[in-house]
Subunit: 298 residues, 4 copies
Amino acid sequence: MPTILGQNQYGKAENRVVKITRDGATHHIKDLNVSVALSGDMEDVHYNGSNANVLPTDTTKNTVFAFAKEHGIESAEQFGVHLARHFVTSQEPIHRARIRIEEYAWERIEAPGEAEHSFVRKGQETRLTQVTYDGESWEVVSGLKDLTVLNSTDSEFWGYVKDRYTTLKETHERILATSVSSRWRFNWTDDAQQMPDWETSYARVKQHMLRAFAETYSLSLQQTLYQMGSRVIEECAEIDEIRFSLPNSHHFLVDLEPFGLKNDNEVYFASDRPYGLIEATVLRDGCEPRIPVDLTNL
Amino acid sequence: MPTILGQNQYGKAENRVVKITRDGATHHIKDLNVSVALSGDMEDVHYNGSNANVLPTDTTKNTVFAFAKEHGIESAEQFGVHLARHFVTSQEPIHRARIRIEEYAWERIEAPGEAEHSFVRKGQETRLTQVTYDGESWEVVSGLKDLTVLNSTDSEFWGYVKDRYTTLKETHERILATSVSSRWRFNWTDDAQQMPDWETSYARVKQHMLRAFAETYSLSLQQTLYQMGSRVIEECAEIDEIRFSLPNSHHFLVDLEPFGLKNDNEVYFASDRPYGLIEATVLRDGCEPRIPVDLTNL
Amino acid sequence: MPTILGQNQYGKAENRVVKITRDGATHHIKDLNVSVALSGDMEDVHYNGSNANVLPTDTTKNTVFAFAKEHGIESAEQFGVHLARHFVTSQEPIHRARIRIEEYAWERIEAPGEAEHSFVRKGQETRLTQVTYDGESWEVVSGLKDLTVLNSTDSEFWGYVKDRYTTLKETHERILATSVSSRWRFNWTDDAQQMPDWETSYARVKQHMLRAFAETYSLSLQQTLYQMGSRVIEECAEIDEIRFSLPNSHHFLVDLEPFGLKNDNEVYFASDRPYGLIEATVLRDGCEPRIPVDLTNL
Amino acid sequence: MPTILGQNQYGKAENRVVKITRDGATHHIKDLNVSVALSGDMEDVHYNGSNANVLPTDTTKNTVFAFAKEHGIESAEQFGVHLARHFVTSQEPIHRARIRIEEYAWERIEAPGEAEHSFVRKGQETRLTQVTYDGESWEVVSGLKDLTVLNSTDSEFWGYVKDRYTTLKETHERILATSVSSRWRFNWTDDAQQMPDWETSYARVKQHMLRAFAETYSLSLQQTLYQMGSRVIEECAEIDEIRFSLPNSHHFLVDLEPFGLKNDNEVYFASDRPYGLIEATVLRDGCEPRIPVDLTNL
């Protein structure tokens, strides 16, 4: 046989589960998009179509919904841990489970006396997590995407390399804007360790990330990225590694001189494409990088 | 000539203008997407390609950016009024201008001492407005889209028509969720009238809309829609008409019985397609409807 | 009551129905996205939540799938006629039905001996239709969207109005590109008339539209639009009116002089936003326009 | 310093370049979306904002457009090779360049005498390539996405594992549909080797992939995937590895019995979410896998 099977995984993607917890008249909501990917002894199904080792993707979907009832959804990370452990420990041929989750935040509608069961989607960033289990150790990588931020000053760009194709003018005053996509890896890997408080951790990471963005006087988006990453590593002992993918969302100062007007850093054209794309990992010193270089959807 | 030209309009769409106002160290931001559509004596350009009456779409783009400097951006509506008036009054062949604007809201990043020029996009609904001027009277239709809301109880659906194709079970307890798309028309039509306070009006409409959604015990999404619309008309004297397009974002209770579990209105599957779609206009009594039946992008 | 109900409609949107017809070993496929909107005596459900006149949207969904079996899917238009007639004639409170359909084209995979049941989605434009029936007369508006076309020469733009905000340079050689969105109205309105051959008509409209685009030496996109529209009206006796929404997909000639290179109309930057937007209706002389000015999703 | 910099890369993403080649009256078009990512001695810019080693992303954009003139665009792969070599060999601090390209196919509009410069976008799959160079060896991974295929018979699914959460019924007749996303790696790594004919190779890969999909009697999507992959490896000597990400685009047979109808494998509901997701690598025996497990955008 001239060809062989390499890495493979399968499962049901994008199970949209909404869990309502009814604490008397006060309700709570968790809104997740859960994707299951399983790996193991799967040669037969690829080589000859035998499904003898295949738990159907439909069953993995059912499990997601059943577990929302059986275990509740304390946090996306905790829910992922329940699911991953289940698939690996209950199915002999399955050696590794990876659960990816998107979470959509809701806030209560402020209405006198009716707020207990009425919600409006917050709509800011999407929260992410990926939980992987191989029967022995855990890897939890959480993150966020589509968190759009902008500094209207305190950003410069100059002193760069110039070659034959360089036409860009140096600037000592520009808008710095980006839509943050980030993933961070927890150093919790073992059931014997105490689990992080996932909800608290997320809130702190987001806060430090935003503050570092706001407080950095920036000479390049790379510098801002590093400040955001190192702030998270320094402030969050539970995290060893963080990666960012930051588009440089260009806001070009519009030339108003042809109209006899002076643009004193007031009017900008927000451009779509092309955009700079700055990507980097920041690590706790001594730790090995494990987050893939190219961030994927979940 | 067996064919003739009917209604036509042209202009530059989706001009992404960002305006920074620098009040000392404290900055303010307005972030708009502006589309211009002009109509008038345009037979020649269609019939034989003569551009003698055509102000280039590129010029309409330049005007948007220049006006952000010359007039500032007090509100999307006020900015639209400046633009529409300019095109109709400065160009003989142009008889009607329609300005559509999307607005993206930003909030300040909470960081000690640095919050004055650092922003994060709010990311909830997109605010909309459409300003039309024909040289004599104004029509201002504002709105919003992608405001996602959910009631986790106080919704029923029963007592409906059953025909040969009906299989739906009646329910006295369901989730009611929708993504609100709405447009409302102001009764300000004349320069002699006092202009509404556009910013205050928007905040009040959104608040009343959310509250009416939260406070309505619903027997159908149509009933909820009407409550939302009539609340806005009753509370906002500046508005005569409002239209909604409300997808019924189905949250199906998952059948957990095959797994020996009872789903006590806790675990739901959030479905994408198909979805119910409920659309209606609510009018101040005595007013003529003018908002088109099918809401378009802006 | 200070507020009243205006125009309203409801139904199930985006029912994705795929019909396989098995002609022995040779299969045929129809792939539709069907949206139902019903209007009639619907005051009660809005004012007080009584569903006594409401056929559930779930039932309208069931009807779509059942009709795919009962009537087959000869064409999107014919399928829409079956559905619209059914809702209006079988339900007393329903006075008007509007069926919107998207159709996705497939072609056979060329494989020796296996092509009879294997398909690849064509992926070019999306075909559209809207069938409306009020119990007496029919209106059928068909169309397409996302048909992207480009002429690499034979396009000029000059001789336009210049005002204070005009900076655009005139050109006698440019790329003309657009993504065609179009709707056309049939003059078939009565069961007593012979129905058009919907499949043949669609193919001819698309062909004439493409050819008129290719053959027009263009002095403005408006001129090209009018040529495309009048060609369809002239060649297709079954159509009385056509409307286009044509973005001017700008391809800017890149300035290569800073690099010591001459750009002899070879290298272009394809821009996303902003874009010119040219919209117009072309009518058979003597006919009334009925297609709405702003084309909506379906 | 408690934190350190890990892998990083930067450049201008999504440069939309269109190249027209004018062969007398007959024109040719290449339509690419090019993203540049550079790595090297970039510690300083991250740690302290010094741009002394940073070639601006704006310059990388300029280079893309200039190279379209200087080298032409013979194929996406060849164009990527030119760009990657340039950045690594001309800039001391840059040690590695990765060029990602999307290509959109066009076909000629069939119009008598005018077809030479008029095009319509084909609109089927998007072609992809990624060229990486470190100054010594090359890695070229090409691919495609959004190629939607469907077999209306010759697909079964049974004999799978059943656990407590399994409710799926076995089937011996179902629709098998997917939207192919695939990447394949060439064994061309050295300038001393003869380069593949990139255009011919792409056409052959696509053809073999489609045929293998059509000709496989499928007991599981995994089996079909493996057949598609091994066919490509067997038929294309220039390729050593191929990976697929195949959503199982469920087409559920609609239950028409409540309406007194029999659904003889005719009427299906095409579902959006959730979907099965089947991913695997197929390798030439003896080769090392190098394509990342999670396929990213380009």
